[in-house]
Symmetry: D2
Subunit: 125 residues, 4 copies
């Protein structure tokens, strides 16, 4: 890992640690690479909707943070990221041992960055 990559990872870990919601949800940072960041959520009653699946709001929260940190990973030090809008499609109930949101930058711009997060479940391994 280069020292620049190390600095980026430090910046993201430090910002993530200040996102109180992530601790409240029990979410944790997964892998971090330039333009790509993963966040992991463990399904359970604390993040569920009425049928026991992970609530769309919890899925949105980790997707939003993963996409935001993917954007931050490509920015110079001292810059911050603020979500202005997002769209989410929920194509299947969120079930499994771990729910992983993988955020990836689609287009990095001066004022606007577009990132996409895919959220999927993992079991076993």
């Amino acid at each position: 890992m280069t020292s620049e990559q190390h600095a980026i990872e430090e910046r993201i870990r430090s910002s993530f640690a200040r996102q109180g919601l992530m601790a409240t949800l029990g979410a944790s940072l997964g892998s971090i690479a330039p333009g790509r960041v993963e966040i992991v959520l463990i399904p359970g009653p604390a993040v569920s909707q009425q049928h026991g699946f992970v609530h769309a709001g919890a899925v949105s929260a980790i997707a939003d943070s993963a996409a935001g940190y993917a954007g931050l990973s490509l920015m110079p030090a001292g810059r911050g990221v603020l979500t202005t809008e997002f769209k989410i499609n929920l194509v299947a109930p969120a079930l499994g041992e771990r729910i992983i949101a993988r955020g990836e930058v689609v287009k990095s711009g001066r004022t606007l960055t577009l990132a996409q997060a895919k959220v999927f479940a993992e079991t076993g391994r």
Copy 2:
């Protein structure tokens, strides 16, 4: 309140109580009317992002539930609601004593219902 309205309110309160995420976030049900449901969130470190504002994911969660229950309030008993997709625009930092998501049905259909939630802050009162 008619007995039908009472039944609707019971259904929504009972479903809300099973949404573990709402308790985890400290969110509560506000007013309930046919086609319109409010959910209230108290800002604080437990639902924050890195700058101390309410995390977009927490805003999304109460917006999604408020819109979903607005939809449910117009459905016959025994029917359920599942979010398939939503879009959110964050136009200002979520700050204040209470954050209120007001969900309202735009179009109620046989298989698809469209609802919109406005999220705003309230202080004092």
Copy 3:
């Protein structure tokens, strides 16, 4: 009408005249007010989808232009508007004598402006 409103209307009419697509669709400008602009489309085979309804793309085109010009109507002279993203929900087939897209500014910002367009049909009158 104040001279400032007159200048805004001139600016929008001049920009609209350069949008070749609007002429191709047969769309025309309706009422113009600060923060609110209407565009009118006449349904017909030239703008239809396979069932004879107005194509979602034609609905999107007038909605996008109406929202964009609503934003432009609140900007100082010399500024331009560029759509970065939009979301559209199609809740009923677009049928009628006239389809009207009414764009309204929700939040006007320095770099980002959020506008909403409602598209509805009108018959008779």
Copy 4:
């Protein structure tokens, strides 16, 4: 090409021919495969916005049709497709000799199908 693929292609070509808007825009069908359909648009004044780029509405129109036909390509004969909603991000001005919208099915469901279209420019070749 199997006879089933041939039937699918026939169905899409026949439906496309009834989309009056596509002819009005000068758009044409590109490659067709199960779950993936391309539509081609030639930039020019007839489909432009005020700066001469392709209008977001024209981009949306071919993206919507490409995604819709990708969905239709996986459906049994006799079924139809109707767009209920879409979201579009415009990340760069649409410029080039040909604009291609490539629609691909993400998730095919009983009542709802999710498809994604990527729109890109091609020059030369």
